[in-house]
Amino acid sequence: MNKALRLLAVPTLALGALALSTAPAMAHDGDHSYQSTLGQLNGSTATGTVTVDVTGNTAHAVLKVSGLPATFKDAPYPHVQHIHVGAQGVCPAPSADKDGDGVVSTTEGAPFYGAIGTTLSVSGDTSPAAGLDLKLAGQGASYTVDRMFELNAETAAALHDGKAVVVVHGLDPATLSPAAQAAPSDLVPSLPLAATSPALCGTLTAGMAMPSGGADTGVATEADGTNTAGLALGGGLALVALAGGAYVVRRRATA
């Protein structure tokens, strides 16, 4: 398999059992948030996190990954990712490797995380039909997918039941066994097995609606670049200068 992972018109048939024909979700009351810190599969050394905030029937998903294989044949490596639904809602163990090639393929993992419920494309179609559209994949080693979309019934139910699993695909062929390096993808035979096999996986579990960052818990004071102890805090507290020109709040050493 020496083809570069370029734009590929993928016949819908290739998705096989992994594609669901999905329906719009029924109205779901209240706001809910889900999160996952993704675990590594198939020897991947990548990391990733994902949050999904749901308001009514609208989901806002933010997926951040880094450390994935960056290139394939000198082109940016396209990585597809999805919310999988309809099975056990867990990630597969290495023992799921049925054919003994050292890789748990997407098909071998399906009994654990299920079929594609939502495609976390970088833009455009989020339905399962877009599941293998490399034009809509994340590119390279590190990227963020930030999408807002309407939930279909299967994905909404899976989130609600704690059975929705995010899977990010695309392994470095050089890290695989000779058998796996030579093997075609179980989903798209013209691609190598590495291209479509899972690298990161995590079950979406309910959690708080995460704030977007830290807190504005300091009151801005009059700026004075020449006054190195500009912030009077009283109570024995003092500013201590650190390298780089910033200050921390510290208790004075002497009363």
């Binding site: 959690g207 504005d216 300091g218």
Partner: protein, 215 residues
Amino acid sequence: MRQFNGYRWCLSAPAVAALIALTACGAPDTPTAEPAAPSTTASAPASASPQQPLQTPTTTAATTPTSPPVSLSIAAIDLKTDLLSLGLRENRSLDVPSATENNAPASWYNGSPVPGTVGPSVMLGHVNSPNGTPGVFARLRDLAPGDPVTVTSQDGKTVTFTVERGAAYSKTDFPTFEVYGNTPGPELRLITCDGYDPATGLFDDNYVIYAKIRP
């Protein structure tokens, strides 16, 4: 021993001579002391390991706190404060207590778990007041691992946590999952500002105290 995890600093902002309007740190919002919010869904522990079935929370209805927190006390730093109940701003950043009031109380982020339920319960407090005196959370950095933190809820019950560690983070690189991500048991996050830059009069960092429920 205050262990610092990942001490990072922003690039210092250009010097500004005039009085800075209260902007980035401590916007002058009036505190929206909302009526007690219903408790959030108890979060199941994160499950990224292979073949681990999703665990359900182990607290029963009889023991699960449901009453929102109304006050916080930390004897080690002589702190007693009421707790406002605040949510998120439109841009999804944390709403904070008033920055125009001196010695404003601390607040509980009412989108986070009720203290004592599974997950990290988030509380915020200013490090300073407009008149230059210490803010309610000015002395968080004096806390040491093992210090008790007690939260009292509206129904009069108390929950005690034990300080584990403190860490400072640049606001431009804030680790949301580390601070707000699910935890196996009930925990607490106390957040204030740090990293004062005299050139701008602003605080570039947050300081976070991590505490776990006392067994």
